[in-house]
């Protein structure tokens, strides 16, 4: 199987800096899979995310989408292939929630898919539990509600590649689980999902594949239970942990040793 989104030996050296903040990082995101990017603060997760989203130019290496170089794809064509959720989702003017979600349909304007607009918006709002907020303006919402509105916009874009940067960060427990369930469901429908996560237990329970970064390098990549071992986590995070199977599901659980 060929990956939908693939990074080869990506190195990023910021302007004026001597040392790379990301070195020789490679990543393969396959259709039908949730791929989690994990690692401590400053490990290079956001940089790698920026590179595969097309925001950050790689100093060396390349990113390919379905085998085509990312830089050679028009922004509009790219927007019909992949949707991106960033951590920062500030909105400059008091648009309503439904207007924001409708913006996710913009790439499909004047295409046959335009007919799906209303249905895509409504189902995205239902999936993120924000229908009751439809007429509210963004500045009147809480942080978690704004994050869900932004996620709904990304879902309304209806692309089969989803890039989500810490989508659970601002959310309460139930909405965190909702977001992970949405990511799983989209993958089950055939989408390739790359998701930056801080919560290792979420990565273990929701991801098909995990890439662990540390100090700007990819430490390991593979099935979550193989990558996120007690020894690897301790090595990368500098924190002793116990990893043991959940008594019911058998999914490994990470608990810091206190």
């Amino acid at each position: 199987m060929t990956p939908r989104l693939e990074a080869f030996g990506v190195t990023v050296v910021p302007d004026g800096a001597r040392h790379p903040i990301l070195s020789e990082a490679s990543l393969q995101v396959f259709a039908g899979e949730v791929h989690a990017l994990v690692g401590p603060n400053g490990a290079g997760k956001s940089t790698l995310f920026g590179v595969i989203a097309g925001d950050t130019a790689a100093t060396a290496g390349e990113v390919r989408l379905d085998g085509r170089s990312l830089g050679g794809i028009r922004p509009l064509d790219l927007a019909r292939e992949r949707a991106v959720l960033l951590q920062q989702n500030a909105v400059s003017f008091p648009f309503t929630v439904s207007q924001i979600v409708e913006m996710g349909r913009t790439p499909w304007a004047r295409t046959p898919q335009e007919d799906e607009d209303a249905e895509a918006v409504a189902s995205a709002m239902a999936a993120t539990d924000i229908q009751v907020l439809a007429a509210r303006t963004i500045p009147s919402l809480s942080g978690g509600e704004r994050a869900r509105a932004a996620l709904a916009r990304v879902l309304a874009q209806r692309t089969d590649i989803l890039l989500l940067d810490e989508p659970t960060a601002a959310l309460d427990l139930r909405h965190q689980e909702d977001v992970l369930a949405i990511a799983r469901r989209r993958a089950a429908e055939g989408a390739a999902v790359a998701i930056v996560l801080h919560d290792l237990n979420a990565a273990l329970s929701s991801a098909d594949r995990v890439t662990l970064l540390s100090g700007g390098r990819v430490v390991a990549s593979g099935v979550p239970a193989d990558v996120l071992t007690a020894a690897a986590i301790e090595e990368v995070y500098g924190q002793a942990v116990d990893v043991f199977p959940h008594p019911v599901t058998g999914v490994p659980l990470v608990v810091p040793r206190r």
Binding site: R80, F93, F95, S98, M103, A135, R153
Partner: protein, 356 residues
Amino acid sequence: MSEVVVPTPATGRTSRFVVLTIGLMLALIVTVVVSLGTGQYPLSPAEVVGVLLRAFGIDTGWAPDAATADGVVLGIRLPRIVLGLLVGAALAVSGVLMQAIFGNPLADAGVVGVSSGAALGAAASLTFGIAAFGMWTTPAWAFVGGLAAVMTVYLVSRSGGRTEVVTLLLTGIAVNAIAGAGLAFMTFLGTTSTREQIVFWQLGSLNGALWQNIVIVFPLVMVGTIIAFAVSRRLDLFALGERTARHLGVRVELLRVVVIITVALLVCAAVAFAGIIGFVGLVVPHLMRMAIGPAHLPLMVTSVLGGALLIAVADLVARTAVPMADLPIGMLTALVGGPFFLWLLVRTRRRSGGWG
């Protein structure tokens, strides 16, 4: 997804947009007719309409027989009012455009110094007696000055796709200061007649508008407004931040350049023959946004009408407030716009809990 799909509820903003648009159009027509009939040679609204219709070859019998009426309405008052409508529309649209790319509702041609830059360009062409492009010389130089100013503000004040209020206003102060120094220097260098012209630019006035000016201003405003309408949906996406706009398919760098050039085009059209009329680009989009929300296409439509209406009313006041005198219209808009601006600043500060 198996959820029952319910259509998103209509917010009532569409109907408010229709009502507002019709209301603004009616107010504009009434203001124009009243303004055409007001002055040292008064005419009733019916007589004004009669004169206008007769100019189009429709004889109604409402128009007075005196040829003076035609001369006053068509030769003096109409060009002045038409120039005012064009200038008002241009300034309001330039305000919407700047607020969109700066991601900041306080951006305005006057506040950030684009108008001063354009006035400096125009004054330079006059002082140095440059006439390279015939009657297009003054607007061309105003365009260069305005473009330089808006580029400067843009490059200096933005970071990460947004502009903080403080940075924007401080950059505006600096650009206004530089342009002001340039204008002072031009005043110093100039002859008595160019000095008068420069003072006129600084105050802003529609006095002495000619049909020849409108021949130049009209196409500039039309082109600028059409571009603004064409990019309005993309400007909505700009509100999400530049990265997200790009993820939704917007060619951000190209859009930015197009909008900056369009702003310079609209401001040069406004400033070239009417001088600096401040705060229109600030007040009008703001009021419209409060009424119908921030979506840019309806905002552009209502701002065109609102800007034209504001200048038409201000000009009527400028001509009639003091008998036998013609007040500078820029002074009037500043008189209304200044306090409005202060109120916006106070409100912004209260909302964000500081200068953000």
